[in-house]
Symmetry: C2
Subunit: 370 residues, 2 copies
């Protein structure tokens, strides 16, 4: 890591930078989530960004003043704000302040519930893309049949486009995230397509298929080849790579399907006196199931490919959801994830140059040599 | 309809052409499904394609010899056959024979459980694309909160690409299908994207957004604008338009999510004696729920944009699934769907020419004037 604008983080690996504003439920929910997280993680500290007049009483109420400091930031990025506006007029916002605390080395990872487009734009401006990364990506967790309970999917919607080189970078970044975030020593990576046969899919997928296969050994992952939408929750893969358009549609489709089935299940069980009685008897089991697929447990889209790690918590997250995002942030902070990720991508770039891979890649989008 | 190679269908609107081979469960399952369908639809008739030596005893067993005739076809398209091979060497297959019966006006709609790629390739070769259609599409039904219980999504995977003109054609074809297949007089059409704001998404989506909005009045549908993955089961839209890559990933993601949740629910309920007792009490309600989201009920991907209608039944469909596909086929046959669809697309082409829309569209892919 030689980027001039980012300082050392080693002294701040216990500190998270938390944007208190921008979530649908307001700062009280964020501070409640922070209190839950701090309660179960004694070594952790936080810097909380937002209007001090609003935050100080909340900090006092939860009695976390000794471990969370407030950084006053008067403005708030709204859900409706366009990214370009945030970049131009956002200097006094809590989001800007939260990202800058990570940029300046005061904290290791930044967490925000705010506007995704604004958060990504500001993160790219203030933290800059890591060496060798053309398009940063958002990685999300997907409930799965694997022992860890989750698979990683990226890009979940940072960019609507991805060429073959981007998909290779996503494979490397996703594998690194699975190693550090889910403790999977040698993740299995798959490339999302409309079929598993080699002749299927778009041209850039066929090239990416070869690039990723070639990078597997050096990248310490196994490449399982093409996977399909039905494999997102499967136990034959840990990391699923796709472009941000397809990934975003898949993510929202999965969430929408799960919500529909929950509604229908509730409706079915609340229909007759007998089924209501049954539902009461089974409520422990149903609660465990709900917990297993609870979107709050998988809260936290991780921005990969920047010089520091930023986590986007769901805008509608409640205190439990915020706490889950903070736990994930802390885990990544402790593992020194940002630096490991940068090293992985940089070594792959070097390897690709050795192999003269640039001839295969699209020169217009090929930043890998920089 | 002036295409020379397709004859009149009015005399055969009660006749379905059924490919008995190619399903995972063999012809016995297809014939059992046909018997179920014929049992509840007294006016229907069928032509069954496959090796007579295998089919005759099955027909006799189900006592449907008076209403189903066998057309001997010795060869079978296998699931592993490539489309190009099917086109070259498939003349004696049951699939070819089943499509030709529709081509020659002996039956109104063709149903097959066989290999999707082979079925689409053969259908395009033998039935030809309808006037004004550049890329045919596969429309599938999606369990939804709408009164009909289903939404229509297309393209579910006929083609991995779709430009703005294709997406407009999909909107027209999907609306026509919703009218004739689901009895929705004025369907609401949405265009799948990563957000509902006008500035989101790929360039071709923004152009398609305008083209579809302009075609709504003439096409007798309402255009609701961009929708997201989470809206696939929603009641704010009836027809969701997307390219075949995204549609295929979404379809398999939805199916995979539903399967995962069913497994987890079964696991949760089978865990303790109390929960097993509860599951027994609630079995009526759970059976109703299962039926509501039963993939067998939504069996039947409809090929749209050819001069006749072909329905792809799921390869793993059981007799109930095959019967569902046949019921759908019969409904479309009765409504004269093929001709209505062709008229809709042709009138939209005329309208687009009146409006000089060709300037907006990509001339390389613009077949609409032919």
């Amino acid at each position: 890591m030689t980027q001039g604008q980012t300082g050392p983080v080693s002294t701040s690996a216990n500190v998270l930078s938390v944007d208190a504003m921008g979530g649908d439920k307001g700062p009280a929910t964020v501070v409640a989530g922070l209190a839950m997280f701090l309660g179960s993680t004694p070594a952790a500290r936080a810097i909380l960004h937002g209007p001090a007049a609003q935050l100080d009483p909340l900090i006092a109420h939860h009695k976390i003043g000794d471990r969370a400091t407030v950084h006053d930031a008067p403005d708030v990025v709204k859900m409706s704000d366009k990214p370009s506006n945030v970049l131009r007029h956002g200097k006094k916002t809590s989001m800007w302040s939260a990202i800058d605390a990570v940029r300046d080395g005061k904290a290791a990872v930044c967490v925000s519930c705010g506007n995704t487009g604004g958060l990504m734009a500001l993160s790219m401006l203030r933290l800059r893309k890591a060496e060798g990364v053309n398009r940063p990506a958002i990685a999300c967790l997907w409930p799965s049949r694997n022992p860890a309970g989750f698979n990683v999917m990226l890009d979940a919607g940072a960019d609507i486009r991805a060429d073959q080189d981007d998909l290779l970078t996503y494979a490397l970044m996703g594998a690194s995230y699975a190693r550090n975030g889910l403790d999977i020593a040698r993740p299995r990576v798959g490339l999302l397509n409309v079929g598993t046969e080699e002749h299927k899919g778009r041209a850039e997928l066929k090239v990416a298929h070869e690039l990723i296969a070639r990078a597997a050994d050096k990248g310490d992952f196994d490449y399982v080849g093409f996977v399909e939408g039905g494999d997102l929750p499967s136990d034959k893969v840990d990391v699923i790579v796709t472009d941000g358009f397809t990934g975003n549609v898949a993510l929202k489709t999965g969430e929408g399907t799960a919500t529909l089935i929950s509604e229908l299940l509730r409706g079915a069980l609340m229909k007759t006196p007998l089924s209501i009685f049954a539902a009461i008897l089974a409520r422990g089991s149903l609660a465990r199931l709900r917990k297993r697929i609870d979107p709050r447990r998988v809260n936290g889209g991780v921005f990969l490919g920047l010089n520091r790690t930023v986590i986007k918590s769901h805008g509608s997250a409640d205190a439990t959801g915020v706490a889950a995002a903070l736990h994930l942030a802390y885990r990544l902070a402790q593992s020194g994830f940002s630096d490991k990720l940068a090293a992985r991508v940089a070594s792959a770039v070097a390897l690709a140059q050795d192999q003269g891979q640039d001839g295969v890649a699209d020169p217009a989008n090929n930043n890998t040599g920089k």
